[in-house]
C-alpha cells in the first residue's frame, strides 16, 4: 500500500515542481521517489499479506514482484527520457506525472482483489496512456495514435465492464474469492451469464494486451506514439496487463479452465502467427517491435492457457525479460532516430563500427527477444514451454517453436544491419544516462539468462 501511496503522491509533487519551474529537479525527484517506492514494495515482501480495504486490494508476493518489476522498468524508461520530452514541448513535469499516474494504475492492476479495483486500475492506466500517446501535438501520427488508442481502449473497456457485470450478476460479488467460491459451489452450473461474462472479460483483456484478433490497434498506436511512450506501453503496460489477466483467471476462474482455455488457446495461436508473420514484412524497426510485441503477447498467453503453479513466475520472468530487452531496443531506436531521422532498419546500417557498445547492447536485446540461450528471453520461453508441455499442450508448443524460428528473421535483421551492412555514418552520441540503462539492462538480461533463480522463484 505504501508503494501505491508514494507512486500516487509523487506525480502530484512533480506537477507542483513543474509549476514552480523546477525543471532540473524533476528527473532526480522522480527517480528518488520511485526508489523509495521500490524500497517500500520490497519491504512488503513475504509479509503474508491479507486482503485489505474490505477485500479490495491484496499486496501479496505476486503484487509485490510485479510492482517492483514495473517500477524498475519505469525508472529505466524515465532515465532514457532525459532530454527527450524537452524536445516535444515545455510541459515536462506533466509527462513525468502522467507516466507515474499510469504506473499507479498499473500497481492497482497487479494488486487488485476485487473486480472494481481491476477496472479502476485499468482505467487509471489507460486514460494516462491516451494522453501520452498524443503528446506530440502537431505530429499527425501521434494524434492518430492517441485517437485510435483512445477509441479502442474505451471500446474494450466496455466489453470488460459488461463481462464484469455479468459475472456480478451470477455470482453476486466483485470479490475474487467470493467468485471463486461461487464457482466451486456451482460446479455443474450452466449459468450462461457467468460464461458469457468470462468470454467478454477475455475479449476486453485481450484488447488491452493486444492479442489477436483484437490487436489491430497495436501497431498503429505503437508506431504513432513517441518512441519512449511506446516503450512504456509495450513493456510495463503489457506486463501489467498480463499480470492482471493472470491474477483474475488464476484466482477466480481456474476451476472452470476447461471452458475458457480452448478460447485462449485459439487466441494464442492466432496471436503468434499474426504477430510474427506480419513482423516479417515490416521495414520500420519501430513497427517491427510493435508486431513482435503482439507475438510476445502470444507467448505470454501460454502461461494463462496452461495455468499452473508456475505460471505466475513464468509470466513474471517472461515479462521482465521482454521488458528489459525492449527498453534497450527502444532506447537504441531513439538514439538512431535522432541521428538518422528514420525508424527503418536502414537507419541501423553500420552502427557496429561507430558504436560498438550500442550495437552490442542492441544485439543482446535482439537475442533475448529471439530467445537465444544465456539471455533472459530464452529463460522466459523455456518457462513458457515447460508450463505448456506440463499441460500436454504439444501442438501449441510446436506452433510456438515454429514462430520462434520465424522471429529469428526479423530480429536478426537489425543485427545484420548493424554488423554486416555498411553505411556512411558518424558516431551516435550515447548520453551517460543511456549508457547506464543499456549497461544495466544488458547485465540483467545476461544475469537472468545464466542464473534465472534470481527472479524465478519470487512468487
Amino acid at each position: 500500500m505504501t508503494t501505491l501511496i508514494i507512486i500516487s503522491v509523487l506525480p502530484i509533487v512533480l506537477l507542483y515542481l513543474g509549476l514552480y519551474k523546477a525543471q532540473k529537479a524533476l528527473l532526480p525527484v522522480t527517480i528518488v521517489g520511485m526508489l523509495i517506492a521500490l524500497a517500500a514494495a520490497v519491504m512488503q515482501w513475504n509479509t503474508n499479506a491479507q486482503p485489505i480495504y474490505n477485500g479490495m486490494m491484496l499486496f501479496d508476493n505476486f503484487s509485490v514482484v510485479f510492482s517492483v518489476g514495473s517500477i524498475v522498468s519505469t525508472i529505466l524508461i524515465l532515465m532514457l527520457s532525459k532530454g527527450y520530452f524537452e524536445k516535444i514541448s515545455s510541459h515536462i513535469a506533466e509527462y513525468y506525472a502522467i507516466i507515474l499516474f499510469s504506473l499507479a494504475g498499473i500497481i492497482v492492476m497487479v494488486s487488485f482483489h476485487n473486480l472494481t479495483m481491476l477496472f479502476v486500475g485499468i482505467e487509471i492506466m489507460s486514460v494516462s496512456l491516451y494522453i501520452l500517446a498524443g503528446i506530440r501535438k502537431n505530429d499527425f501520427a501521434s494524434n492518430e495514435a492517441a485517437l485510435k488508442y483512445f477509441l479502442m481502449g474505451a471500446f474494450s473497456t466496455g466489453f470488460l465492464l459488461f463481462g464484469i457485470t455479468l459475472i456480478y450478476g451470477s455470482t453476486g460479488s466483485f470479490d475474487l474469492d467470493v467468485i471463486r467460491d461461487w464457482v466451486v459451489t456451482h460446479p455443474k452450473s450452466h449459468d450462461a451469464l457467468f460464461y458469457t461474462g468470462i468470454l467478454l472479460i477475455i475479449v476486453g483483456l485481450c484488447f488491452k494486451v493486444g492479442a489477436a484478433p483484437f490487436h489491430f490497434w497495436t501497431p498503429d498506436v505503437y508506431e504513432g506514439a513517441p518512441a519512449l511512450i511506446t516503450a512504456f506501453m509495450s513493456t510495463v503496460v503489457k506486463a501489467a496487463g498480463f499480470a492482471a489477466f493472470y491474477r483474475l483467471f488464476s484466482v477466480s476462474f481456474s476451476t472452470v479452465s476447461s471452458f475458457w482455455s480452448p478460447v485462449i488457446l485459439v487466441i494464442t495461436i492466432a496471436t503468434l502467427f499474426i504477430g510474427n508473420i506480419t513482423a516479417l514484412y515490416q521495414q520500420s524497426f519501430k513497427r517491427m517491435l510493435a508486431f513482435s510485441s503482439i507475438s510476445h503477447a502470444g507467448y505470454l498467453l501460454f502461461a494463462i492457457v496452461a495455468l499452473g503453479a508456475a505460471s505466475a513466475n513464468s509470466i513474471f520472468v517472461y515479462a521482465t525479460a521482454y521488458s528489459i530487452a525492449s527498453i534497450i531496443a527502444f532506447g537504441a531506436l531513439v538514439l538512431v532516430r535522432q541521428q538518422t531521422g528514420t525508424d527503418n532498419f536502414e537507419g541501423f546500417n553500420g552502427l557496429a563500427r561507430k558504436n560498438p557498445f550500442l550495437a552490442f547492447a542492441l544485439t543482446i536485446s535482439m537475442l533475448s527477444l529471439a530467445g537465444i540461450p544465456l539471455t533472459a528471453g530464452f529463460i522466459g520461453k523455456f518457462f513458457m514451454f515447460s508450463g505448456a508441455l506440463l499441460q500436454y499442450k504439444y501442438l501449441m508448443v510446436i506452433i510456438a517453436v515454429i514462430n520462434a524460428i520465424i522471429s529469428i528473421f526479423y530480429y536478426f535483421r537489425v543485427i545484420i544491419a548493424m554488423y554486416f551492412r555498411s553505411a556512411e555514418r558518424t558516431e551516435v552520441l550515447v548520453p551517460a544516462y543511456y549508457k547506464f540503462v543499456f549497461g544495466f539492462s544488458v547485465l540483467v538480461t545476461i544475469a537472468i539468462g545464466i542464473y534465472p533463480e534470481l527472479i524465478s522463484r519470487l512468487i
Partner: protein, 488 residues
C-alpha cells in the same frame, strides 16, 4: 578439480582477449587455448578408462525446474574434449597469417565457442546441454557473418535458422523428457531410466534427430552446409566442420539413441538409409566441384554420412569407429581447409581447374597436402583408415548391402580427392601457380602437427580407442536393457 574449470576457462579467456589490443589478440588466444589443452591433458592423465563419470560437478542451478549444473567426463566425453582442445589451438595457429579486422573480437568469439562446445561434450544435464548447444551457435554465426565472404548474410541466416529450428525441437523433446521423469529434473541418467512407450519414443527420437541431423548434416538437411562452409572465413569453417559438426554426432550417441531406443528401432532404418544416400549424393556432387573449399565441404558430408551410418548401426564397432573417426575427420578436415586457405591466400582463387603443378614450387606443401589427402581417403596407416574400417564393420553388422554401398565412399572419396590433388599439385605450372611460395613458419608448424597426428593415430589408434571403449560398451548395454523394459 572438476570439469567446470575446463568450461569456464575459455569464457574467461574470451573476456581476457577483449582486454588486449588487436595486434596481440591471437597470441593471447593461443596462450589460453594451449592452457586449455594442457588442462585437458592433465585430465587425461588422471583419467581412468572405465565407464564412470569423472571430474564431475553437480550443483543446483535452477532448482525449481530441477536443473543442475551437472557435467563430467566419461570415455566418450574425454575423446571429444581432447578433439576440441587440440583443434582449437591448431585452428588459431592456422590463422596466424591472417590479419583479421577487429581481431580480438574474432578470437574472443572462437574461445567463447570453445566453451560452448566443451559444455555440450561434458554436459550430463539436459538443460545445460541445450544451453551449450546454442552457446556454440551464436559465436560461429557472428564469426561467419562478420568475417565471411560476399554472400555471407543470406547464407548465414539460412544456417542459423536451420540449426536453431532443429535445436528448438530438441528443446521441446528435452522438456518433454524432463516432465516424464519422476524426480522432475534434467539429469541425463534419469532420462536414461525413463520407460516411455513406443509412440512417445518415436516423437522424442524425431525431435532430437532433427536437431542432430541438421547439425551433422545428414542428407536432406544438409543444404545450409556447403554454402556456409564456402562463405565462412577459414577458421570458421574449421570450427564448423572440425568440431561443431561433431556435436551432432556426439548428440546421437549420447542423447538420441539411449533416450529413445525404441524410437530408434522405428526410425533408425530410415536414418541409416538417409545417411547412406547422403554419402553417395555428396560424393557425386563433390566430384563435380571445381571450387576446392566446396569440394571439401561435400566430402565432409560424405564422411559424416558414413559416421552417421556407423552409429545408427549401433554396435560396438560402429560407435567406436565413429568415435575415432570423429577425431580423424576433425584433424583431416581442418588440414584440408587449411590447405585451401593457403592456396587461396596466395593465389586468390580456389578454382581447381586454374591450378596445377604447385608441387614443383612447394615441395613441403605438397607432402603435407598428400598426407592429408591420404588421411582423408583412408589409406591404411593413416588415421582415416582406422575409423572407416570400424565404421564399415559396424554397418556390415547391420546390413551387408548397405555396408557395400556405404563402402563406395572410400572409392568415391579416393577418386575425387586424388583428382583434386592431381589437378592442383601436379601437371604443368601456369602463370598463376608459378608465383606460389612454399609454406613456412606457422603454416609449416600447423601442417606439421596435423600430419603428425594423422600418422600417429593411423599407426597406433589403440590408446584413443581405449579411452572410449568402456563407456561405449556401457552405453550399448544401457540401450539393450531399455529395449527389454520398454512397453510396446
Amino acid at each position: 578439480m572438476t570439469v567446470s574449470i575446463l568450461l569456464f576457462l575459455p569464457i574467461l579467456a574470451a573476456l581476457a582477449v577483449l582486454l588486449f589490443k588487436n595486434e596481440v589478440a591471437k597470441h593471447v588466444a593461443m596462450f589460453f587455448a594451449i592452457a586449455e589443452l594442457a588442462l585437458a591433458l592433465y585430465f587425461l592423465n588422471g583419467f581412468v578408462a572405465d565407464a564412470s563419470l569423472q571430474y564431475s560437478i553437480d550443483v543446483p542451478w535452477i532448482k525449481q525446474f530441477g536443473i543442475y549444473f551437472k557435467a563430467g567426463i566419461d570415455g566418450i566425453s574425454m575423446v571429444m574434449v581432447l578433439l576440441t582442445t587440440v583443434l582449437v589451438p591448431l585452428i588459431i595457429l592456422t590463422t596466424y597469417e591472417h590479419q583479421y579486422k577487429n581481431a580480438k573480437a574474432f578470437y574472443a568469439l572462437i574461445l567463447f565457442m570453445q566453451a560452448g562446445l566443451l559444455t555440450v561434450f561434458t554436459a550430463f544435464d539436459g538443460f545445460l546441454f541445450y544451453v551449450g548447444w546454442e552457446a556454440a551457435l551464436i559465436p560461429i554465426y557472428f564469426i561467419c557473418a562478420l568475417w565471411g565472404g560476399e554472400n555471407r548474410i543470406r547464407v548465414n541466416i539460412k544456417f542459423f535458422i536451420y540449426t536453431f529450428a532443429g535445436s528448438l525441437f530438441m528443446l521441446v523433446a528435452i522438456i518433454y523428457l524432463y516432465l516424464q521423469t519422476p524426480t522432475k529434473d534434467y539429469d541425463l541418467e534419469h532420462f536414461y531410466a525413463l520407460s516411455l512407450d513406443a509412440k512417445q519414443q518415436s516423437w522424442v527420437f524425431l525431435a532430437f534427430f532433427l536437431a542432430f541431423a541438421i547439425k551433422m548434416p545428414i542428407f536432406p538437411f544438409h543444404t545450409w552446409q556447403p554454402d556456409t562452409y564456402t562463405e565462412a572465413p577459414t577458421a570458421g569453417t574449421m570450427m564448423l566442420s572440425g568440431i561443431m559438426l561433431k556435436m551432432g554426432i556426439y548428440g546421437v550417441i549420447r542423447w538420441l539413441i539411449p533416450n529413445a531406443p525404441v524410437g530408434f528401432l522405428t526410425w533408425g532404418n530410415i536414418a541409416i538409409i538417409l545417411s547412406v544416400i547422403g554419402i553417395i549424393y555428396a560424393s557425386i556432387i563433390a566430384f563435380k566441384q571445381t571450387d576446392g573449399k566446396r569440394l571439401v565441404a561435400y566430402s565432409s558430408i560424405a564422411h559424416v554420412g558414413l559416421i552417421a551410418a556407423g552409429i545408427f548401426a549401433w554396435n560396438i564397432y560402429g560407435v567406436q569407429g565413429a568415435m575415432i573417426q570423429m577425431v580423424s575427420h576433425g584433424i583431416n578436415v581442418v588440414g584440408m581447409f587449411f590447405i585451401w586457405d593457403i592456396i587461396s591466400r596466395r593465389l586468390n582463387t580456389r578454382d581447381i581447374d586454374k591450378l596445377g603443378g604447385i608441387a614443383k614450387v612447394a615441395p613441403n606443401f605438397a607432402i603435407a597436402f598428400l598426407i592429408i589427402v591420404l588421411g582423408t581417403v583412408a589409406l591404411p596407416l593413416t588415421n582415416g583408415f582406422v575409423g572407416e574400417f570400424l565404421l564399415l564393420r559396424g554397418v556390415f553388422g547391420w546390413s551387408i548391402p548397405t555396408a557395400a554401398i556405404a563402402g563406395t565412399t572410400i572409392i568415391l572419396g579416393a577418386v575425387y580427392m586424388l583428382r583434386m590433388y592431381k589437378n592442383v599439385m601436379q601437371g604443368e605450372l601456369n602463370e598463376l601457380t608459378a608465383t606460389f611460395t612454399d609454406i613456412k613458419g606457422s603454416e609449416k608448424l600447423a601442417l606439421g602437427i596435423i600430419c603428425a597426428l594423422i600418422i600417429v593415430i593411423g599407426v597406433y589408434p589403440q590408446p584413443l580407442l581405449h579411452i572410449s571403449e568402456a563407456s561405449v560398451t556401457n552405453l550399448l548395454e544401457t540401450v539393450s536393457h531399455k529395449f527389454i523394459t520398454t512397453k510396446f
